[in-house]
């Protein structure tokens, strides 16, 4: 059973087409990684899924068509989208950021438990819980963005270059945390990355986009053994 299915999606900005008949699936409790160069259409794919841009084709969450729904409705159905860079609420405290992440949920007691769990996952955030998100470092903001997306208790989580601009040690921590969440809570993920090594390590499936078209797909292992991919994305 697939959580998320993207079928023949084409999209663009204004009159400029970016995606051409892109298809991919994210299986139940699995992690898919989407690779590609700058401008290949990775971010556009995520935007189409979370309802931020118009598209042709079909996008299904648990078999339910998402077309025509706004980003807020799609989020309430269970898609969390961690946007690239600073998607945090900079005027709100760390704790409020996490609380807002749980907006679609009504289980008050469990929300408190989950916030605490985020602090266990990212101990730095616990230290800064009363600080405004705008005052955090880039790495801390990234963790907060992931934590906030997790607070939604999503069916599937979309992450756009979560490692961008982070120190290698922090990237390791982050990916470890993602893997743990995926195993323990069974949250499916679609991760966009340029820096592919780590992403391929934790992923089940992998897709490669080139100038808006899907050129390669398969299990993460198969894709990481592909010569072209090795040359272009893995640096060897």
């Amino acid at each position: 059973m697939n959580v998320l299915e993207i079928k023949g999606v084409s999209a663009g900005y204004g009159r400029i087409p970016v995606l051409h008949h892109v298809s991919l699936v994210v299986g139940e409790k699995s992690i898919a990684v989407l690779l590609g160069a700058n401008g290949a259409g990775k971010t556009t794919t995520l935007r189409a899924v979370s309802g931020m841009i118009k598209y042709t084709g079909q996008i299904l969450l648990d078999g339910k068509d998402l077309k025509g729904r706004g980003p807020d409705q799609i989020a309430r159905l269970g898609i969390a989208h961690g946007v690239q860079g600073r998607g945090t609420f900079s005027d709100l405290t760390v704790e409020d950021n996490l609380a807002v992440g749980a907006f679609r949920r009504r289980d008050k007691a469990e929300i408190a438990v989950d916030i605490d769990q985020m602090y266990t996952l990212f101990p730095r955030l616990r230290e800064r819980r009363k600080q405004k998100a705008g005052s955090l470092s880039g790495g801390e903001q990234q963790m907060l963005a992931v934590g906030r997306a997790l607070m939604l208790k999503p069916r599937v989580m979309l992450l756009d270059e979560p490692s961008l601009g982070l120190a290698p040690v922090i990237i390791d921590d982050l990916y470890e945390a993602l893997q743990r969440v995926n195993r323990l809570q069974g949250i499916a993920m679609l991760i966009v990355e340029q820096n592919a090594n780590l992403a391929l390590e934790i992923a089940n499936d992998a897709y490669v986009l080139e100038t808006g078209s899907m050129v390669l797909s398969g299990t993460a292992r198969d894709v990481s053994e592909n010569d072209g991919v090795r040359a272009a994305y893995l640096g060897n």
Binding site: A37, G39, E210, T211, A231, A232
Partner: protein, 363 residues
């Protein structure tokens, strides 16, 4: 990344357009000169009013339409010009034309002073500062009762025609105002038509881009604020001499809002929009108030909202747009023949670009 193709300038019809424009202008001036000979006195008086408002509206259009600064203080400069002119006739004994020129100098100086802090304030803050100017007028006028006549106002001696002029006082004032109006419109047209105009448009679109093009954005903004305020002052002085009365009730915040409504209706950032604004200011309030006191506010409010949401270019702006769309359509029709060839080039380019990208990545 992307290659933008700039269409070649079509300069051939330019000369024709200029010639037509000069022709139209010439005919218009002739008609305006002949007006007092054919229309009744009261309508001459009304037309004079249209021109005084148009001059002031042109000033606001410079500030708001061309540079994009929100000013709510136009009533203050309109009032300042009026009082400066009236008081210099009373206390300095100068003639009316000199009085109007004094009003121009005074309002230009105050405009620059007000524009100076304004240059570094964003739109909203400027609106607030000028709001302060707008609401200061009435209390100040009332305070300096000895000179202004306070709330009751003052009767003003209208300009008296010389003995050889036989068409009457209203026509005499009409010609005086017409002379000022023509000179001002001509000067402003040249000001916004040349390199200054491009710099102004640059400021409105993006200050950063304009300053990187070498435009001294701050200096230009202050100057425009000064000139715009000066035109308000000249318009105010002329209007007061036309009407023969000055009093604070005609200079409330409502006047500024009316000016704003009028230039929005006429067309922001167009010269002729100011003329439409003058007609609007002269005729709409009196007709609207015939229908009831509440109605004039409703008319202005409705017009402001409707124009901004439905017709952001105003009357003149919309007409210009329709005209330019027509021209575009004609050009497009001319081009269709060559279109097939163009398409293949684009397709080729894409393939080439994709290949280039791949090579770039492989290396």
């Amino acid at each position: 990344m992307s290659s933008i193709e700039i269409p070649a300038m079509q300069s051939a019809p330019r000369g024709e357009v200029v010639a037509t424009k000069i022709g139209v202008g010439f005919v218009l001036v002739l008609i305006l000169l002949g007006m007092p000979l054919v229309i009744p006195e009261y309508q001459t008086f009304q037309l004079t009013g249209v021109m005084t408002y148009a001059v002031a509206a042109l000033g606001l259009n410079l500030i708001t339409g061309y540079v994009g600064q929100v000013s709510l203080g136009h009533n203050a400069f309109f009032a300042l010009g009026s009082y400066a002119a009236v008081l210099s006739v009373v206390y300095l004994g100068v003639n009316d034309v000199v009085a109007v020129l004094i009003a121009a100098v005074v309002t230009f100086i105050f405009g620059v002073l007000a524009g100076y802090p304004a240059k570094r304030l964003r739109g909203l803050y400027l609106a607030l500062i000028t709001l302060v100017l707008a609401v200061s007028v009435v209390p100040l006028v009332k305070q300096f009762k000895a000179y202004t006549g306070g709330a009751a106002g003052l009767m003003v001696d209208k300009p008296v025609p010389p003995a050889w002029f036989t068409l009457g006082q209203d026509a005499w004032i009409y010609y005086m105002v017409l002379a000022f109006t023509l000179v001002i419109f001509w000067l402003v047209r040249n000001f916004v038509g040349g390199s200054n105009g491009r710099a102004l448009a640059g400021i409105r679109e993006s200050e950063l881009a304009a300053s990187s093009m070498g435009v001294d954005v701050n200096r230009l903004k202050v100057i425009v604020f000064g000139v715009g305020s000066m035109l308000a002052g000249v318009g105010g002085a002329l209007a007061t001499f036309t009407i023969g009365f000055i009093g604070p009730d005609s200079f409330t915040l409502m006047l500024s809002i009316s000016f704003l409504a009028a230039i929005v209706v006429g067309g922001l950032g167009t010269i002729w929009g100011a003329l439409v604004a003058g007609l609007f200011l002269q005729f709409v309030p009196s007709y609207a108030s015939d229908l009831g006191q509440a109605f004039s506010g409703a008319v202005y409010g409705g017009i402001l909202i409707a124009c901004m949401t439905l017709m952001p270019n105003g009357i003149v702006g919309s007409l210009l747009k329709i005209a330019s769309n027509r021209r575009e359509a004609r050009k497009a029709a001319d081009r269709t023949a060559g279109k097939g060839a163009e398409k293949t080039t684009v397709a080729e380019k894409t393939t080439v670009k994709a290949a280039a990208d791949r090579t770039a990545r492989a290396t």
